[in-house]
Structure formats: structure tokens, C-alpha cells
């Protein structure tokens, strides 16, 4: 009982005082909290099975055994899963392929102590992002056409909310999606100097519309352009306004600031700015810029939880145990009432 109360107190603290990631870091993911859970399971197993051992099997005791067994099995599976799980977040632009076993293919990764990256086989390709995707008349909004597997033997599927791709025990789940702009740089004579796909973030505006811009998760921002160059030419911000009529059409806005002056950022007057339709060049000082193509990028969660079937199955067994015990007790109560 003390253990149960302590766990309940931790849960209340976790969701009222700390909340979300802080609660996860400080309580729910810690060794001591999981240790408390393990102690609770051992306690339940010892107390219950010690008491029921050698007793006559009745409907009530059968139900109780089922319930407590499911409880122990569930926690055993949770512990096993925590040692062998994998959870990764992969971001792909349409047409892009990433190698599954490479750590660089993931934005974030969490794994159990005994998980081996060699279990991640093959590669993942985002073929296309479908908007307004419908299944039996239901609007699924966004669906990702994905290929996973070894070259030449890939499994292809459409992934949308509630419909995941399962490959080799790894589940591919939709998470988020956004626009990616193909930004090109030209010199004065119009010669193409550089081109790259730049993913945009979405920001909800006060009027509930969205703004699509380069930047960080929380706020719009700039990036050195050309990307990865030893000596970038300037800081660039790209904003895209989708066309309400043409899919992947619309306008792109550019703003550039001199590179190297860390204190010259959005808020100060830009060196140059302008807008143009998709494919149209916009002057930016001695150069010109254009967005030649709009693609989508998608973020997918890739999960591997080897003990999950046992965990989820235990829940049903536990419920069955509860129902059997309750009916047994009602039957017993009814007989006692009649006897009296």
C-alpha cells in the first residue's frame, strides 16, 4: 500500500508540478521511479500469489489470478521493452532516401540499453506526400507514400494517421509535414551558381492562418546561404505563401542580410528583399534568387517495441480477470442472500 501511495504521489507531482518533458526527465524516466514500479510488481506477486497458493480454484480466485498474472506479465514486458526498444524521428523530403542503420538519418533517437543498430535494415524513401487523402470518404488530410527495405526488395505503403507501415518489427508513424523550397542562386549574368532544398517551418498566426518560413521550431529565422559553404554570401530568410488554387504554387519572399555580422538579424533593415512567383527570379544585391519548386517534407516516428504485444494483450487478460471476479462475487453474494 505504501508503494502504491508513493507511486501515486509521484504521478500527481509529475503531471501538476513539473509536467511534460521535465516530468519525464525528473520522474517518469528515472531509475528510482521505475525501480518503485518493479518493487510494486514484486510486492503484488509475492503478496497475492503467497496468499492464494494451495487454495481451491474458484471462479473468483481464477479471475483474481488472471488479473494479477496480467499485471505481473505487463510490467515484466515493460521492463523488457525498456531494454530493447528503439524510437527515432526521421525527416525526409519527397524523393529523398535515407539509410535506416545510420545515426545521421535521424533528428532524434532513443534506444534501450541492448538495442543494436544493425537491427535497422535497408533504407527509407519518401515517394510522395499526398494532401487531402481520403479513405472510404474520411478525410485523412495528409498521407505519406513511403518505401522501406533493401534496394530491390522494398515494401511500399501509404502511411497516415491510424494506418502505419510495419517493416521488420519497426513501425513507421506519421508525425508532421511541411513545405520544402528548392532555392536557387544566380549571378548577375543569370548563371546558376547553387541550388538546394530548404525545409520550412510552420507558424500559427493570430488569425489562425499559417506562415511558412525558414527558422527554428519556435520562431522564424535566417540561415547562412549557400548552406555548408566555407564562405556564405549572406543570411537568407525564405517565406512561402501557398496558392489557394494551385497545388505547390504560390509566391516566395526573400530577405537577405550581410553574412558575418552576427548582430544584423531580422528586425534590422535587410540588405535586399523581394518576392516572386514559383520559378521567378528576384534580385538580391549582386545576385538573384528563385524558388523553382515546392516539395513536401515529412517527419516520421520509427518505433520498435518488441514486448508491446505482451503489454497490450495483458490489458485484455486483466480486464477479463476483473469481469470474472466480479461475476463470481455477484454469484456468491446472490447465493449468500438466498441462504440468509
Amino acid at each position: 500500500m505504501f508503494l502504491l501511495v508513493a507511486i501515486l504521489a509521484c504521478c500527481v507531482t509529475g503531471v501538476t508540478v513539473f509536467r511534460e518533458k521535465r516530468a519525464w526527465d525528473l520522474i517518469f524516466s528515472t531509475l528510482w521511479f521505475n525501480g518503485l514500479l518493479v518493487l510494486l510488481v514484486i510486492n503484488v506477486a509475492c503478496c497475492f500469489f503467497g496468499r492464494i497458493w494451495h487454495r481451491k480454484l474458484t471462479t473468483i480466485s481464477f479471475g483474481m489470478i488472471l488479473f494479477h498474472l496480467s499485471f505481473v506479465a505487463m510490467f515484466g514486458a515493460i521492463v523488457y521493452d525498456s531494454l530493447f526498444f528503439f524510437e527515432g524521428s526521421m525527416r525526409l523530403t519527397e524523393g529523398e532516401t535515407l539509410v535506416n542503420s545510420s545515426l545521421e538519418s535521424y533528428d532524434t533517437v532513443r534506444q534501450g540499453r541492448f538495442f543494436k543498430f544493425s537491427q535497422l535494415k535497408g533504407e527509407t524513401t519518401l515517394v510522395k506526400m499526398h494532401t487531402g487523402y481520403r479513405v472510404d470518404g474520411d478525410d485523412k488530410r495528409a498521407a505519406y507514400e513511403v518505401e522501406v527495405g533493401e534496394p530491390g526488395a522494398k515494401k511500399k505503403s501509404i502511411v497516415y494517421i491510424g494506418h502505419n507501415l510495419d517493416y521488420n518489427g519497426f513501425k513507421y508513424l506519421p508525425e508532421k509535414e511541411g513545405y520544402s523550397t528548392a532555392v536557387y542562386l544566380y549571378d548577375k549574368g543569370g548563371a546558376n551558381l547553387y541550388g538546394a532544398h530548404v525545409p520550412l517551418q510552420s507558424y500559427r498566426q493570430k488569425d489562425k492562418s499559417f506562415m511558412y518560413s525558414t527558422g527554428e521550431k519556435e520562431s522564424p529565422g535566417v540561415f547562412p546561404f549557400p548552406q555548408g559553404a566555407a564562405d556564405p554570401l549572406f543570411y537568407l530568410q525564405v517565406v512561402y505563401r501557398p496558392s489557394p488554387v494551385t497545388e505547390r504554387g504560390g509566391e516566395a519572399y526573400f530577405q537577405v542580410w550581410p553574412y558575418g555580422k552576427a548582430d544584423t538579424m531580422p528586425g534590422d533593415k535587410p540588405l535586399a528583399s523581394g518576392k516572386g512567383a514559383i520559378g521567378e527570379k528576384v534580385a538580391a544585391g549582386d545576385y538573384s534568387l528563385s524558388v523553382n519548386e515546392i516539395r513536401y517534407w515529412v517527419g516520421m516516428n520509427i518505433r520498435h517495441n518488441p514486448a508491446k504485444p505482451v503489454i497490450l494483450g495483458s490489458l485484455w487478460v486483466g480486464l477479463a480477470g476483473m469481469i470474472i471476479t466480479t461475476f463470481g462475487r455477484m454469484k456468491q453474494g446472490g447465493r449468500a442472500g438466498k441462504g440468509a
Binding site: M1, L4, L8, C11, V12, G14, V15, T16, R19, A23, W24, F28, D138, D139, K140, R141, A142, Y160, I161, G162, N164, K171, L173, P174, E175, K176, E177, G178, Y179, S202, R204, F210, Y296, N301, R303, N305, K308, I311, L312, L315, W316, G318, L319, M322, I323, T326, R329, M330, G333
Partner: protein
């Protein structure tokens, strides 16, 4: 005013009449007022049902997505089970003293939170698990509310005698009935948690995320698990369990509607946008 809202507020008004009839009936020890309370609840249930049906027909979307819809549906199931108990179990008129005021207040609160009818449902909610989850939650809540009302009835009968109290069932019978409703609530709440885990697994790939609503649901489920252990293993009976069921009800109401109302959780709506 839309017909759906007219029906809704008529139902709230009739539940209000029912509430005051039960409370004054208890204060005045005049059980004819309990009959007025029961009839008001019965008549109020008709426009309550109509308001849910009209909302459903207007949007074509299951009417238990928002907090106000969830409250409305939860109270609908509560009143339905309350009426079934009133017409099938003898001499339990006093149940309305707790059931009707809570139903009246929660339904009135739902009215203040009501939004326009949704014309489409988010992809994450397009699942049959939604039905299992919501029905489990609503029936679970109704069961433990009635168990708590039986607990209150037990405490009132134990401390008073004469008049309406003599016409109540024996204390032992009330105690047993309360226990059965707790057991039913425990099972239905368990079903709600399991269906939620399966649903979350199909949508997000995880069965448990330590979300505030999940944790509070677990807390209230464990509260009733402790109730059952106190009764079965430790042999608790009577007033101690009656008090326990009343306290556990508060936890249940907080976890069911208080948390999603006050804290931003994924239960406040799935937000998958680009």
C-alpha cells in the same frame, strides 16, 4: 436560438427543478418532492436526448469530441442509468440527492463551454476505439457517481431515523449495491484505459505517454482498485467505504473533466498541422 440549444437548456432547467426538489425533499423530509425530482429528471431526459441527436445530425460527427460534448454525453449516460436504477431497484429515491445536483451543475457548465457543431472530424479521432473509450468513460463515471450517491444514502440512514429514512433499504443492502456499482465502474474505467492505450498505439505508436489525463485516469482507477482491496482484503464495510466513495468521486470528476479543461494535453485535441 437553434432547436438543439433550446432542447439543451430545457433539459438543464428541468434538471435544476429536479435538483431543488431532491434537496428540499431531503431538508423537509417530504418524500413527495422526491417524486417531483424523479419526474423532472425523466421529462428533462427527453430534450437532453434530443439535443444530442440534433447536434449529431447537424454535423454528422460523433457528438462527444469537445469538453462540452463529453460532459453532455457523460451526464446523458448518468441520467439514463439513474433512471434505470430508480425504476428497477426499490426504495432508492434518495439517490437523486447527489446524482441530480452534480448532473445539473456539470450540464450547466457544459452549456457555457458549447461551441459550434464540427463539420469534420480530425483523422486521429476517426477510429472505432473512440466509441469504446467514450462509452467506457461515461458508463464508468455514471457507475461511480451512483455508488457515491448510495454511499451518501448509507451515511444519511446511519445517522438519521424516522420518516423517509425508515423507508430506505437496509444498510447492508445499500452497502452491497454501492460495492457493485464501484466494481462496475472499475471495469468500465479499465475498459476506457485499455481502449485509450490501443487507440494511442494506432495513432501515435505508444500506449502510454504520461499525459496528465492518462495519469489522472490511472489515479482514479487505482483509487477504486484500492476501494475493492479495502473491502475484499481488509474487510472494510459501511461508513468508511461510503466516505471513501464520496472522496473518490471528487478525484474522478477532476480527472475526467477538470484536467483536460485546465491543462493543455493531447486530450484537448490532436494538433497535427503543417
Amino acid at each position: 436560438m437553434k432547436p438543439e440549444l433550446v432542447c439543451f437548456w430545457i433539459a438543464v432547467g428541468l434538471y435544476g427543478v429536479s435538483t431543488f426538489s431532491y434537496i428540499f425533499g431531503l431538508i423537509a423530509k417530504y418524500d413527495k418532492l422526491f417524486l417531483v425530482g424523479l419526474l423532472s429528471a425523466l421529462v428533462g431526459f427527453i430534450p437532453h436526448t434530443a439535443s444530442i441527436a440534433l447536434r449529431w445530425m447537424a454535423g454528422g460527427v460523433e457528438p462527444f469530441i469537445t469538453i462540452s460534448e463529453s460532459l453532455t454525453f457523460g451526464i446523458f449516460v448518468t441520467i439514463l442509468i439513474f433512471l434505470i436504477v430508480q425504476f428497477t431497484v426499490k426504495r432508492v429515491q434518495l439517490l437523486g440527492v447527489l446524482v441530480m445536483p452534480i448532473s445539473f451543475v456539470l450540464l450547466g457548465w457544459a452549456g457555457t463551454l458549447m461551441k459550434e457543431v464540427a463539420s469534420s472530424i480530425a483523422p486521429a479521432l476517426q477510429s472505432y476505439w473512440l466509441w469504446v473509450h467514450i462509452v467506457g468513460a461515461a458508463v464508468g463515471f455514471a457507475s461511480v457517481l451512483i455508488a457515491a450517491a448510495l454511499g451518501l444514502m448509507y451515511l444519511l440512514k446511519e445517522r438519521n431515523s424516522g420518516g423517509i429514512y425508515d423507508r430506505l433499504p437496509e444498510l447492508g443492502a445499500v452497502d452491497r449495491l454501492s460495492y457493485r456499482f464501484v466494481a462496475a465502474g472499475f471495469i468500465m474505467y479499465g475498459l476506457m484505459i485499455i481502449s485509450g492505450a490501443y487507440w494511442s498505439n494506432s495513432v501515435k505508436g505508444n500506449y502510454w505517454a504520461w499525459d496528465p489525463v492518462e495519469v489522472w485516469s490511472l489515479i482514479s482507477w487505482l483509487m477504486y482498485g484500492i476501494y475493492l482491496h479495502l473491502r475484499v482484503t481488509f474487510g472494510w464495510r459501511g461508513s468508511r467505504l461510503a466516505w471513501y466513495s464520496l472522496i473518490a468521486l471528487v478525484v474522478m470528476i477532476v480527472s475526467y473533466w477538470g484536467i483536460p479543461f485546465g491543462v493543455e494535453t493531447f486530450h484537448s485535441g490532436f494538433r497535427i498541422e503543417h
